[in-house]
């Protein structure tokens, strides 16, 4: 599967990456090669094989519903670029 320029722009947008228009042909070519490489897996006959969700052949362990939390708000907020009144501050976001 070969990616075109628009698909590259779309992928970059979904990943919130700013890319240079001039680099798009290179990205398209490189990403297409990665896809083609992975595509080789499609040649394996998987008829009757149950899809695998995880490489470990184990089931999820469950945790009892008990509070084990220690409040470390001050430590975490010291790492944030901006915090006020206990809230993390980010550039204003309002959905239109």
């Amino acid at each position: 599967m070969a990616l075109d320029a628009n698909q590259v722009r779309e992928i970059a947008h979904l990943a919130r990456l700013a890319i240079d228009e001039r680099d798009i042909p290179d990205y398209a070519e490189n990403l297409s090669e990665i896809l083609a490489f992975v595509e080789q897996l499609g040649s394996v006959d998987t008829e009757g094989v149950e899809p695998m969700a995880h490489p470990l052949d184990m089931a999820q362990r469950l945790r009892p519903d008990k509070v084990t939390h220690i409040d470390e708000r001050e430590r975490f907020q010291a790492l944030a670029p901006a915090a006020e009144a206990g809230l993390y501050l980010v550039p204003r976001v309002i959905e239109q």
């Binding site: 939390h69 708000r73 006020e84 980010v90 309002i94």
Partner: protein
């Protein structure tokens, strides 16, 4: 042209666990911002989610209540999108292998008939945090206390055909999660949230029209208004020859209108994939049996039992089982007396009226069900009349003790002593010679006048049937 509306609901139920779905941080509402956000909830590097057993148990409980398939093996997936109240950049949800598969729920329609509504699936996921847009210069404040709170998203089939049906479905699901005690049901605090998919099509057509998704219609009243408004809007566009774009719309309750929030053009691509941090959830038959053994009697079964066991009408049984708390109250009251029908009337009329007047819930009733039942028993055994019972009820409401204490203290015991009533009757006859003459002259209606006078003389305490009999006998 006649149009038919097609509605499906997605309801997010916040599960009332003590801790988050993947961390040991508490879920209590109203804490100081970010005091309940752990490293896992914040998406710090190197942390690993560990699934809360209670969340799985609650999801299975609902699955059993909906007669749904419980997947022996289901998988968590990452739903990728960027928003500041989602620190990891993805929400852990379930995609192609949800825990709860297809089930169904019966709703009762206005005309008394029952409609079966399909439930497509229900899956576990984590809630996001909250963004606060006010109070900061060009910034938004993020509170991640809610991040990681367990949600069960319940998706219905597009089986609903009117806003009223949608409300009936939503109310029924609300009742069920309250009966199961898996969610506090508090809609103001966002514990029970609803998105509605609405489309219209010419009546008789099989194909669905393009749908609009209405976000966050979070009260029973708003959901009906929002859907009705959206149906009208779409019909208007279609009748003018226009087409409906697929989009997400937000309902504005103040203006009673919906408006575009985002179009599905350049469709949301969430790039779901299995979350490598979490192994598949395996639910054993033993686990399901264990959950089943813990299931309460559900509203439909309880309603049927109220009809057969207590002889209540379908309507009364429906009212009394609308919430588990009310049904529990009623059963306790009915158990404390010999007349379950009279108990039903008292709970639905006097008690509910008094509670409404004071804005109290059934669990806050100042009169316990045992005391109400005890008072009803005094009506049944003839100690007090129904009329006096209202006075006794008021006194109990005011905290003056149980029925027997009030009856004793206020001397409200019904007078059934024949000679005492006869004496009162004699006095009334002696004091009203004109009316006696008229009555004896054929004016039968005056009996009511005499009964009233005797009742008045007794302070309402004379047994009305005896008063009637004695009067008739004496007046000849």
């Amino acid at each position: 042209m006649e149009w038919e509306s097609v509605i499906g609901l997605e309801i997010h139920v916040q599960l009332s666990t003590q801790t988050k779905i993947f961390s040991g941080a508490p879920t209590a509402y109203g804490a100081e911002p970010n005091r309940q956000a752990s490293a896992i909830d914040l998406g710090m590097p190197g942390v690993l989610p560990v699934l809360n057993e209670q969340a799985v148990r609650y999801a299975v409980k609902l699955g059993l209540a909906l007669g749904a398939d419980i997947a022996p093996r289901s998988v968590f997936a990452r739903k990728n999108y960027f928003y500041p109240d989602l620190p990891k950049g993805y929400q852990i949800s379930q995609y192609d292998l949800p825990l709860i598969g297809s089930g169904q729920m019966d709703i009762e329609l206005d005309d008394g008939t029952t409609k079966r509504v399909g439930v497509t699936r229900a899956h576990l996921e984590e809630d996001a945090g909250k963004s606060l847009h006010e109070g900061f210069e060009a910034m938004s404040g993020i509170d991640l206390n809610r991040a990681g709170t367990p949600l069960l998203e319940i998706v219905s089939e597009p089986d609903l055909r009117s806003a009223k049906e949608a409300v009936a479905y939503m109310k029924k699901l609300h009742t069920i999660v309250r009966y199961l005690d898996i969610c506090d049901g508090n809609m103001q605090e966002g514990s029970f949230r609803c998105d509605a998919n609405v489309s219209v099509r010419p009546k008789g057509e099989r194909e669905f029209g393009t749908r609009a998704e209405l976000k966050n219609v979070n009260s029973f009243r708003f959901v009906e208004r929002a859907i009705n408004h959206e149906i009208e809007r779409q019909i208007e566009i279609r009748e003018d020859g226009g087409s409906i774009p697929q989009e997400t719309r937000l309902y504005d309750a103040d203006r009673n209108e919906t408006r575009t929030m985002r179009t599905k053009e350049g469709a949301d691509d969430y790039r779901y994939f299995p979350d490598p941090d979490l192994l598949p959830i395996e639910v054993s038959p033993a686990f399901i049996d264990d959950v089943r053994s813990d299931m309460p009697e559900l509203p439909d079964a309880r309603k049927a039992r109220f009809e057969s066991e207590y002889g209540l009408s379908s309507y009364d049984a429906g009212v009394l089982t609308a919430s588990r708390e009310l049904a529990d109250y009623y059963e306790a009251a009915a158990g404390a007396c010999d007349d379950p029908k009279l108990a039903a009337n008292w709970v639905m009329d006097e008690l509910s009226g008094a509670l409404n007047k004071e804005g109290l819930g059934i669990t806050e009733s100042p009169v316990s069900p045992q005391r109400l039942g005890g008072m009803i028993q005094r009506v049944t055994d003839g100690t007090i009349s129904s009329k006096i019972a209202k006075d006794v009820f008021e006194a109990m409401w005011a905290g003056e003790g149980d029925a027997d204490t009030v009856i004793e203290a206020k001397g409200l015991k019904q007078v059934t002593d024949t000679s005492e009533i006869e004496a009162m009757v004699d006095e009334v006859i002696a004091n009203n010679p004109d009316q006696v003459a008229e009555y004896q002259g054929g004016k039968d209606k005056l009996l009511g006048f005499f009964v009233g006078q005797v009742m008045k003389a007794s302070g309402g305490k004379a047994n009305p049937q005896q008063v009637n009999d004695i009067l008739k006998q004496k007046l000849g």
